[in-house]
């Protein structure tokens, strides 16, 4: 048993850490966030040039062949820097779905660009009514000759405002919430009939809702078998949850460090406020939450690439439940420990705090995953 990263994994994580340190001061992040693109084009390019976007893809397709552990190593450092580039959406989800379900031609066509960062992908799996349930799909894809015509709306597509390619789920048969009958399509961002309502996100990134009005795509846009995408989506979301756990751990580490520093520096009643036991115990609770989150991130990474099973489903649901709760706990208690300064835009802690709570709203919140876990409970 050994829970340490191996040498290669450590080198990978150090590479990302160096890059983030160089490019991602708090002030620069605010600048990137306010551009039209909504993130740093040069940082994005460097992620590609250093091979970091190729991490999860198979070696025969020019990838690094990395597992959930390597992906987490990257994500943890992106989390520490509070990076707003849509790595999770483009590489882990978008590239991951194509890599998992695409045919040889589709993989050749798209993966190289995704692995260099030339192609940015966004993924639309949610709809206004779906409430985290990726099987709740009302967007339709109707066959018209050999083409498909898509109609519907995809909700909160992070990175969708600037994506070159969109991967969306749509129903080719069945009724709303059926697992069968869901298909995945890859759509060019400039396709006719595709409208976006773009917005900044509360945690500093950008996204959009996608409106599909008679968007026509060819049969070559269908990813995997028609009507059989539910399992593909569930599996890839599992990997994305593992990756998101990695990011969350990075964000939590910095949030805890900042809070601890503040407890040591800030003086009231003539002493550092960290001398007060009520604040010490709260800080100890935050560290304990971080440890639980680390443990579950490790466990999630260990099942991320395993074949699907109820055990994998349970671990993924448990990991997202724990991470979401830890993240929100550290966010709220961290703000409280900082007092007024923790509420200000100009202090970086507040931005970490916002990201931590929004992680709960991505890929299913703690309640959603608790329900999933409860449904999979074994009597023994």
């Amino acid at each position: 048993m050994d829970f340490r990263l191996n040498e290669e994994q450590q080198m990978l994580q150090d590479t990302v850490a160096r890059l983030v340190r160089g490019e991602y001061s708090f002030e620069k992040r605010l600048e990137y966030s306010e551009t039209e693109l909504g993130f740093s084009e040069s940082f994005w390019k460097q992620l590609g040039e250093l091979g970091l976007m190729a991490v999860p893809f198979p070696e025969e397709l020019g990838g690094f062949g990395g597992t959930g552990v390597e992906v987490q190593s990257v994500m943890t450092e992106l989390g520490r820097g509070l990076c707003i580039e849509p790595y999770l959406q483009s590489v882990v989800l978008g590239g991951g779905l194509i890599s998992q379900a695409g045919n040889e031609q589709q993989k050749e066509q798209w993966l190289a660009g995704i692995a260099t960062g030339e192609t940015q992908v966004a993924v639309g799996l949610q709809e206004p009514q779906s409430f985290y349930n990726t099987n709740d799909v009302e967007t339709t894809a109707e066959k018209a000759g050999s083409d498909y015509v898509l109609n519907g709306r995809k909700a909160v597509v992070i990175g969708g405002h600037s994506a070159d390619l969109l991967v969306v789920s749509a129903r080719t048969s069945g009724s709303s919430r059926d697992a069968s009958g869901i298909s995945l399509f890859v759509i060019d961002a400039n396709a006719e009939g595709l409208d976006r309502r773009s917005y900044p996100t509360i945690d500093g990134a950008k996204g959009c809702d996608l409106f599909l009005n008679n968007v026509k795509v060819g049969a070559d846009a269908l990813l995997g078998n028609e009507g059989e995408a539910a399992d593909v989506i569930e599996y890839q979301v599992g990997r994305a949850i593992s990756a998101l756990c990695g990011e969350a751990v990075g964000v939590m580490e910095v949030a805890c460090d900042l809070t601890l520093d503040y407890l040591k520096q800030r003086k009231q009643f003539g002493v550092p406020i960290g001398k007060f036991q009520v604040l010490q115990h709260r800080m100890a609770d935050m560290m304990s939450e971080l440890e639980q989150a680390r443990s579950m991130a490790i466990l999630a990474a260990s099942v991320a690439d395993e074949p699907q099973s109820d055990e994998r489903r349970r671990v993924i649901a448990a990991a997202k439940n724990v991470i979401s709760r830890s993240a929100q706990f550290i966010s709220e208690k961290g703000i409280q420990s900082h007092g007024g300064i923790g509420m200000t835009w100009e202090y970086n802690f507040a931005h970490y705090a916002k990201r931590l709570v929004m992680i709960n709203h991505q890929l299913g919140d703690d309640d959603f995953h608790l329900e999933r876990y409860a449904a999979l409970l074994e009597a023994n």
Partner: protein
């Protein structure tokens, strides 16, 4: 990153399972799994079996009759023995005073006491806490004054677990009142049959006699019963506490309690369906199972770090808090699972030998009492608040 056991470790696990399959008495296991009372005889019977196997003293060097398990092997033993319903070993002799004697005691003390601990001849109890010295242990007042070849001991110890069965007690006593509190404490080994010692039961809120008060009135203790040097007892006490803290998180015990809970909730019925399928209750179970999953990995991370040569530090304190909260949460759910039948205090049904009709589920009777009894988990072994103080001092530097 590797979360698997090696082939050798798996072989050891098989050996443990084979031993428990063959040697663990069924009646004892049933009591443990059902949270029923164990008698002194139950403990001694099991200890004898363990001793014969050579697996009783897992914290001792081999030269004294211990078994040199790696941290991972100890972990495997803990997991398996909890799963099988092995009685928790009474730690005061084998896991507490013995490591102190081995590290700091004289050759004579080693020869006199260690074999008697292994054979079960001596039953030790712990004389640490006093009415005025709980979390602030160093403020203890029990006084030992040297007179010739003896110390004369006067004072009172409390919360003495299973002291009613013990013939030996190890005590922290004050030998010097002129110096800082921590520097005037000595570590004495005292025969419980010495004149002047009185043991009085403390009945806990569940009606149980588990802990005692021990009074010392002009008790003559030979000076050769002093461990190490006079006034250095605090150092030895702290060394002992590191042994006490390992395993206090009780991850294996929580896993066994969770299995018990899920079986119980599968038998109980609410709205015509098994309780385990009730939306609210299944989510409560799910939440505690998820939290236990995370704590179990945190525990493994500590085990792996110790296996790699690290020293368990304040991480164990964090895990003690987390682990005891989880176990209390499981006890809480087990109590809820029997609904109004948590209210009757049917002592006859708590006896494993009971063969009459049960009021409700055969496992129900001890559950409310067990829940109350286990409120102790967050109090003993350094209260959870003290653990947070340790985290804040040792890890956070506050």
């Amino acid at each position: 990153m590797n979360m698997n056991y090696t082939a050798e470790e798996l072989a050891f696990r098989d050996e443990v399972r084979a031993f428990l399959d063959a040697k663990l008495p069924e009646d004892i296991a049933a009591k443990v799994k059902g949270f029923r009372k164990l008698s002194k005889e139950d403990h001694q019977r099991w200890q004898k079996i363990l001793s014969e196997q050579g697996w009783y003293a897992t914290h001792w060097p081999e030269q004294y009759g211990g078994v040199s398990w790696t941290p991972v092997q100890k972990h495997i033993w803990d997991e398996e023995s909890c799963r099988y319903g092995v009685p928790r070993s009474i730690p005061f002799g084998v896991n507490m005073v013995a490591p102190v004697i081995i590290k700091f005691g004289s050759e004579e003390q080693k020869q006199q006491y260690l074999p008697r601990i292994l054979s079960g001849e001596d039953w030790w109890c712990q004389g640490y806490s006093e009415p005025g010295a709980g979390s602030d242990l160093a403020s203890l007042k029990t006084r030992a004054v040297r007179e010739g070849d003896h110390y004369i001991v006067n004072g009172q110890k409390t919360w003495t677990t299973l002291g009613q069965h013990a013939n030996m007690i190890f005590c922290l006593v004050r030998t010097n009142t002129e110096v800082k509190a921590q520097e005037g404490i000595s570590f004495l080994l005292i025969d419980m049959n010495t004149p002047g010692i009185t043991v009085r039961p403390i009945i806990t809120l569940d009606g149980e006699h588990e802990v005692n008060e021990v009074f010392f009135e002009d008790v003559k203790v030979p000076v050769e019963n002093l461990v190490g040097e006079e006034d250095k007892g605090w150092t030895y006490a702290k060394y002992l506490l590191t042994y006490e803290r390992t395993g206090l998180a009780g991850i294996g015990l929580s896993k066994a309690a969770l299995t018990h809970l899920k079986q119980l909730a599968s038998r109980r019925v609410k709205n015509g369906k098994p309780l385990i399928q009730d939306p609210t209750f299944s989510q409560r179970i799910a939440q505690v199972e998820i939290d236990l999953m995370a704590a179990a990995i945190s525990n493994l991370r500590i085990v792996a770090s110790v296996e790699g040569g690290g020293v368990p530090g304040a991480e164990s304190s964090m895990l003690k808090v987390r682990g005891t909260e989880i176990r209390q949460a499981i006890n809480d759910l087990a109590r809820r699972a029997i609904g109004p039948y948590a209210i009757p205090f049917a002592e006859e049904e708590m006896d494993q030998a009971y063969d009459g009709e049960f009021l409700s589920d055969p496992d129900a009777a001890p559950l409310a009492a067990h829940y109350f009894n286990n409120r102790k988990l967050s109090i003993f072994g350094g209260s959870n608040e003290i653990q947070k103080n340790i985290v804040s001092k040792m890890i956070l530097g506050l």
